[in-house]
Amino acid sequence: MKRVFSSVTDGRGFDLVLVGVPFTFLLALAGLPLLYNILMSFQEVDMFSLASVIRPFVGFKNYVDLFTEPETISILKNTVIFVVGSIAGQFLVGFSLALFFWINFPGASWLRGLFLVSWVMPGLVVGAIWNWILSGDFGVLNFLLQQTGLVGGNIFWRSDPNFSLWAVILANIWLGTSFNMILLATGLAAIPADLYEAAEMDGANAWQRFWTITLPMMRSTIGAIIALGLIFTLQQFDLFAAITDGGPNNSSNVAQYWAWDLSFRQYDFGKGATISVIMTVFVMFAATVYVRSTRHEVRG
């Protein structure tokens, strides 16, 4: 008894406790729901069997049904465009801003902090505001574009199938840029200044310094921000609900919104779960790429 006790306070048992606590936590709050979700995707689930675990097993029927629906391919395509477009936009604008504030003019850190306001705002509020900005007849964006002479007539950002997805991407870029900027700014601050001094003495110009010092030194930060960006964009739901509802004609529908629509509007929980499983596979793939790309990282 005493041995067990001493092992727990100092020894192998202690290690097991250290591993066990987070493992139990993960299993209960992430693992089991994930497994339950996978189980649901192989069952026929409707509202009345929602509470039971034993339900009619349908094999791959949910998967087959989904991929025979005409909208599936276009929704998956939209999801890819949304993720790539949002991450690219957020990263480019965020990185440019981070570099801009890195110049460190008076009040730079102050202003940089203010940018976080957009990140603090709830998605539904952001969605409602962008809803007004993007509105076709009286939208602010259309007004600006027309005043500057960039477009001749109103563009119906929300209701034109050619633009609706980009309308949501635009709002999402605005929402995520500041978060990108802050993380990238901390990455920039961590680069030792003597590297630049040495490069300058060797006669490297600004462009060369950026390519050979800044970017390589930022590699892990950039990797992390893109991985986080992937997670955040795949979670993005509020903007769709507030701006387009996935319409018109599914032209701005993406996997995560579709999963919600199937589960909680059409009460087809099996199919909703199926989409979630497909999304999980995608995210795992991306996570693997991320882990592999940062594994052989050279630091310092």
């Binding site: 209701s159 319409g247 018109p248 004609n249 032209s251 009460y267």
Partner: protein, 410 residues
Amino acid sequence: MGIRRTMISVALALASVSFAGISARAEDVKLVLWSLDRDIQPAPNLIKEFNAQNNGIQIEYRQLQFDDVVSEAMRAYSTGKAPDIIAIDNPNHAMFASRKAFLDLTDMILQSKVIKPENYFPGPLKSVMWDNKYYGVPKATNTIALYYNKDLFKAAGLDPEKPPQTWTDLVATAKKLTNPSKNIYGITFSAKANEEGTFQFLPWAQMGGATYKSINSEGAVNALTTWKQMLDEKLASPDTLTRSQWDSTATFNAGNAAMAISGPWEIDRMLSDAKFQWGTALLPVPSEGAQRSSAMGDFNWAIFSSTKHPKEAFKALEFFASKDATMYKNFGQLPARSDIPVPPTGNALKDSALKTFVEQLKYAQPRGPSPEWPKISKAIQDAIQAALTGQMAPKAALDQAAAKIKSIDG
């Protein structure tokens, strides 16, 4: 001083506990009721009145959010924790009734002196029925009709006392009223990709002689073609595709649309926001003399079949129904009753609008009823949006919807 005050409050607390013990007698039957009504809406107020009768039945109220009603109710039912009474949105009624999650009230209604089927509008009544039996009682109802801006009618040289009667009329009128240079669209409505789109479109299809089971019949194709014409010719804003009814009608109130299709929930806001003369009319029909139809919204009362006190729960429904006559006066909602006239409100404009809606209610038809309504509705929304964006022809879009509905509905 401090101690004394504490003593007094303890004494008061004890006294109130014992009072509560006296008023809630041991033999009281306790019912639980769920609805989404807020404090200024019927359910909580009717419950207060009901409980004040002290007739041995006490109702406990729980307020739900709109998006949660169905999912909360089904979770509760499948885990055996359902309330005794619930207010459910009418297109979801059949889903519960067909699974016998709601109690069959047919016998109790036939014996009831308060709730009589013949006193209700046919549309709302049909929505509580499944397999020719009554599984609930209509709580309130609403429908959609045409609002129009009389000032803009005059300005366009149209007779403000002659709103359009037929679809052709409506399109022609909208054309005359549309004025892009002044930012005025002829008409506004909602073709949004959610239940609102179905709610607005189905009456048009039904006027054309279609039902949701024959959504690709000629009348429905005509209806969708008419909608498409109004969007293609910019008689309605392209944002019709993504705007809710409430937001669409806001553009009417602002004078940016000359006509609007929406429901009686708009009246109060319109009275304060619209700075012009407006009127209401029944929904235009495909051709003169064609059958009328309209949408039917709002909630029904139902008793869960798992209740231990069906008689007491029905008594509560009878009490609620007995208060239908004052529903509009107290809560601004229309009772689903054809035997009760809506009392005059003292505002002529409001009264004449209400008259139109009550008339329109005679033709209101429920969505479904079908246990698979949400999926059917989705198929219809997809067809509307595919046609209006020009990605499919109306006929092809509705054919696709019909095939989907057939596979869902069996």
